[in-house]
């Protein structure tokens, strides 16, 4: 009896809305007026001192966006975004590209310190003190602009370009012009078109031929300002035979209104190149009543342009009120490979509609999809994925496994795969299961002295192990903790 009472008390004491990164900071900001029109687009462009072609590119996207209708086919329900009340540009004041950390607003540095993001070079990510001495280069994006990018010089020695995209426009215009919008065209979808018009910053990575990037690159996104949307654009190009592992993390303050995050990520691999892209998404998910939280409407796509190239997406989705994204691979080069590993956890009133697309165009292309969805509380979690083989994609292979775990009686788990084969040598396998944590497993763990919470965490960690193994170590540690936090209060 005492043990039962203890569990009940413990569950009660846990606040579902406990969101570690929910603090907001007062930082002097330079904001564009609310609303969107051609002048705002021009303003953003001029703030960045952009060349004429890019301004035109943005304006064209904006005009296109005006003709589009907001899509509503995903299994998510939310109050519509009021696009005319958003601020499309927000930057910490006095920011004119600091030459060193000393020039960065100390308040900003404190934010990153609180978040555990190392902006001082040589520092390590939280949770791995004393572990292997791996270093990570960080590009920190605060609201609309990149605040600082670390290890730039060391990376430059290896020939790697890692800088804010606004800087790359000036320093490497030929690369930006060639690749920007080549994977996700401006007209691709509603949110990517909007992003093309108003994107403010993001990371640009170029790995030259035959270079294995000497350290992991990462971008850390933080939304701070009220009533802003965040629209960043990431462009990663891996030239022949190169390799890069890229990490992305995100957090936002706890606020009552919903905020929009509509990013575009484009990856390009040439012959024999490989990009490994990992995301730990932890935007503010809203409170226990479903109030507030980030709308995460992101377009992520990789283009395996070269032969035997490889793109691998790994994502841990624990945050956001609404997540609606499908990191995809276009397997164009012969023998190219796409991978997608995902853990999507929804609790409270969160809604997730996520998955991937594997488009097999080249010969002997292979892909693998492992998706683990966990729904708890009153959340809805949908896996939506497409695997297709073109007529000429002979010997295309795909293996898909999507498992869902339900915790509690008010949540939903859904699976919507589209599997399209257009030739006789394609071999596609798809399997999906949905179940709850078995009583036997719980009983076994509890009998050995674990509490219901601990037992659930243990079983869930086992459930998502296949995906966690794909994450770089620093992220795996963080992700494991995140999963435990996300599911707090879901048992009892």
């Amino acid at each position: 009896m005492a043990a039962v009472q203890e569990t009940v008390d413990r569950v009660k004491s846990i606040d579902v809305t406990e969101y570690k990164y929910g603090f907001s900071s007062v930082i002097e900001m330079d904001k564009a007026p609310a609303g969107l029109n051609e002048d705002i687009v021009r303003l953003i462009s001029s703030k960045k001192n952009e060349p004429e072609w890019l301004t035109e590119w943005r304006l064209e996207a904006y005009r296109r966006w005006l003709t589009l209708e907001e899509p509503d086919w995903a299994r998510v329900n939310y109050p519509r975004v009021k696009f005319d009340e958003l601020h499309y540009y927000a930057a910490p004041k006095s920011h004119s590209g600091p030459k060193s950390l000393d020039e960065v607003d100390p308040e900003l540095l404190r934010v990153y310190e609180k978040l555990g993001i190392p902006l001082q070079e040589q520092e390590l990510l939280a949770g791995v003190e004393g572990a292997a001495q791996r270093r990570v280069a960080v590009d920190a994006v605060f609201d609309s602009v990149s605040v600082v990018t670390t290890f730039k010089n060391e990376l430059a020695k290896a020939g790697v370009i890692f800088c804010p995209i606004s800087e790359a426009v000036h320093t490497h215009p030929e690369l930006v012009k060639k690749y920007l919008g080549s994977v996700v065209p401006t007209s691709d979808n509603y949110y990517s078109t909007l992003n093309a018009a108003v994107f403010s910053d993001g990371s640009f990575v170029y790995i030259p031929k035959g270079v294995r990037c000497p350290m992991e690159l990462s971008t850390y996104f933080r939304i701070n300002e009220q009533n802003t949307g965040q629209f960043e654009r990431t462009l990663i190009i891996a030239d022949e035979g190169s390799y890069v592992s890229y990490l992305e993390g995100c957090t936002a303050p706890r606020r009552d209104e919903n905020q929009l995050h509509a990013a575009v990520v484009e990856l390009i691999t040439h012959d024999d190149a490989e990009i490994k892209y990992s995301t730990v998404q932890n935007w503010y998910p809203g409170d226990a009543e479903g109030k507030g939280g980030i709308y995460n409407f992101v377009t992520k796509r990789g283009d395996c342009r070269g032969k035997n190239s490889k793109i691998s997406w790994t994502q841990v989705e624990t945050g956001s009120a609404i997540t609606w994204k499908y990191p995809s691979c276009i397997l164009r080069g012969d023998g190219s490979r796409g991978e997608f590993y995902s853990i999507a956890i929804s609790n409270g009133h969160q809604q997730v509609d996520s998955g991937t697309k594997m488009l097999h165009l080249g010969k002997n292309t292979t892909s693998r999809i492992i998706s683990k969805g966990i729904s708890a509380g009153k959340s809805q979690n949908t896996y939506r994925g497409q695997v297709s083989a073109h007529r000429k994609a002979t010997n295309a292979r795909n293996f898909t496994n999507c498992d869902s775990l339900l915790i509690g009686n008010d949540c939903g788990a859904h699976t919507v795969p589209y599997i399209e084969a257009r030739n006789d040598s394609a071999q596609f396998e798809h399997e999906a299961t949905t179940s709850k944590i078995s009583e036997d497993q719980m009983f076994y763990c509890q009998q050995r002295g674990l509490s219901a919470e601990e037992a659930t965490a243990l079983i869930v960690n086992g459930f998502v192990r296949d995906v966690l193994q794909q994450l770089p170590m620093e992220f795996a540690v963080e992700a494991q903790k995140l999963i435990a936090i996300s599911l707090e209060g879901s048992v009892g």
Partner: protein, 454 residues
């Protein structure tokens, strides 16, 4: 996401609206039925013919595939019935009674009386008589979520059969429903049938078609099952013998009571465009159902099977298994949705779709969906697409079979396995013969080199 397209009505949509306007007053049924028809046609007219943007029709764009709407078939006359009678005479009967529907009209003069415990009347009679409980079942309003084709059938239904099985009755041999075409011109027919199975009754319904060939018609069929508690129902459908260019849209609705057992198998070997949409609901607790099907597709055929299975009762078990063989430039579509409602705890659901693609130009589209709102469930689905296994082919060829025979043997096993589970010897033999016939024609046509690569 392109801007929303506001489309004008297609020729087929206009023709269907005209056909409804003209037929409205002549179609059977009193005031209540006329309202039902008007409401249903309103749903159809509002949505139009389904197209790619309608999720349930994503892979079967009826709007572009159905170019024209054929005139509605007239009631069959004496001379055409004579010819059908001749064809029926040469067909073995199982002895459970045979009901004949010609161009969508039930023809009692060609049909047998049903065994004791079973009764049959024509749909037209039932509609005119206006028994509200039967009309309600026929309307099947809470199935299909406003599906335009199901609604079109409800608006236009001319005739069909209404079979009632008394509670506790055991009908041993299958009751056959045979569809025949008689009209000399290509025509459209709209029929709807209802099978009401009383509590604890046992029955098997076998649907099949006979045809004299030569005309590409359009058929819009619908079969509604209301299965009582503890009843055991078997159902088979042989969708065969239509012509190239024909259009066949079959809807199937089943509502299962507590502890009911339901088993359905369909073989599709048909030219043109075939879509079977199956709406099944577990309304009572502890029911069990199996839906199975084999589709043999060649030429430019387009065969679509779409399932919408709703679990509402506690502890029900659902098994869905569909197989496709695709040759030439055929297109196969399998969409299956299992929806487990919040109160349907302890649901056990498994869905499987397997396709063999034998030609470079054939396509297979799979969309197995799970939609789960209850937590204590075990649901899964699997889908595979591939060609014939090279090892198995090698094994058979090493034992002296030539390539074509080896292929045929493997294909026959693949398709026949599901037919064998039908549970009635005569029906199994009929399906087996149909499969063998398809494979024979394929071999004769000199095909059978595809799929052996790799």
């Amino acid at each position: 996401m392109p801007a929303r397209i506001v489309s004008s009505r297609t020729d087929a949509e206009v023709a269907l609206a005209d056909a409804y306007g003209a037929a409205k007053t002549r179609l059977p049924g009193g005031e209540a039925v006329r309202h039902l028809r008007d409401d249903a046609f309103g749903i159809f007219a509002g949505a139009g013919l389904p197209h790619r943007r309608v999720e349930a029709w994503h892979y079967t764009d009826l709007r572009s595939l159905m170019r024209e709407a054929l005139p509605v078939a007239a009631r069959p006359n004496g001379s055409s019935l004579g010819a059908i009678n001749g064809e029926l005479a040469g067909r073995p009967s199982f002895g459970g009674g045979r009901l004949v529907v010609v161009d969508g009209t039930f023809v009692p003069s060609l049909s047998d009386a049903l065994p004791e415990g079973a009764g049959v009347r024509s749909l037209a009679d039932v509609l005119s008589e206006g028994r509200p409980e039967l009309i309600d079942l026929l309307a099947a309003r809470d199935f299909g979520e406003g599906d335009a084709v199901l609604a079109l059938n409800a608006a236009m239904m001319q005739d069909g059969v209404v079979i009632e099985i008394d509670p506790g009755a055991e009908i041993v041999e299958p009751i056959e429903i045979v569809y025949a075409t008689a009209s000399a011109q290509p025509a459209a027919s709209f029929f709807r049938s209802l099978v009401v199975v009383g509590d604890g009754a046992k029955v098997r319904i076998a649907e099949s078609s006979i045809g004299r060939g030569g005309r590409a018609g359009q058929t819009f069929g619908c079969l509604v099952f209301k299965v009582g508690d503890r009843a055991e129902v078997g159902h088979t459908a042989a969708i065969t013998r239509s012509e190239a260019g024909s259009l066949r849209l079959d809807s199937f609705v089943a509502d299962l009571g507590a502890r009911a057992q339901f088993d359905s198998f369909a073989l599709v070997d048909s030219e043109g465009l075939v879509r079977r949409q199956l709406f099944m609901r577990f309304s009572g607790d502890d029911a069990k159902a199996q839906l199975r099907g084999v589709s043999l597709c060649q030429g430019r055929e387009h065969v679509d099977t779409t399932l919408d299975v709703v679990h509402r009762g506690l502890g029900c078990e659902g098994r869905e298994h569909f197989r496709y063989i695709l040759d030439d430039a055929a297109t196969g579509v399998f969409q299956g949705r299992i929806r487990v409602e919040k109160q349907a705890q302890k649901t056990d659901g498994k869905m499987m779709s397997r396709a063999l693609v034998l030609s470079d130009e054939a396509s297979m589209h799979n969309k197995p969906e799970l939609e789960i709102f209850a937590d204590d469930v075990a649901c899964g689905h699997g889908a595979t697409v591939g060609s014939l296994n090279a090892d198995q082919l090698f094994y058979l060829r090493a034992r002296g079979l030539d390539k074509r025979s080896a292929e045929s043997l493997l294909l026959e096993a693949f398709a026949g396995e599901l037919a064998d589970e039908v549970g009635h010897e005569g029906l199994v033999a009929r399906f087996r013969a149909e499969i063998a016939h398809w494979l024979g024609e394929r071999t004769k046509a000199g095909k059978g080199s595809g799929g052996s690569k790799g």
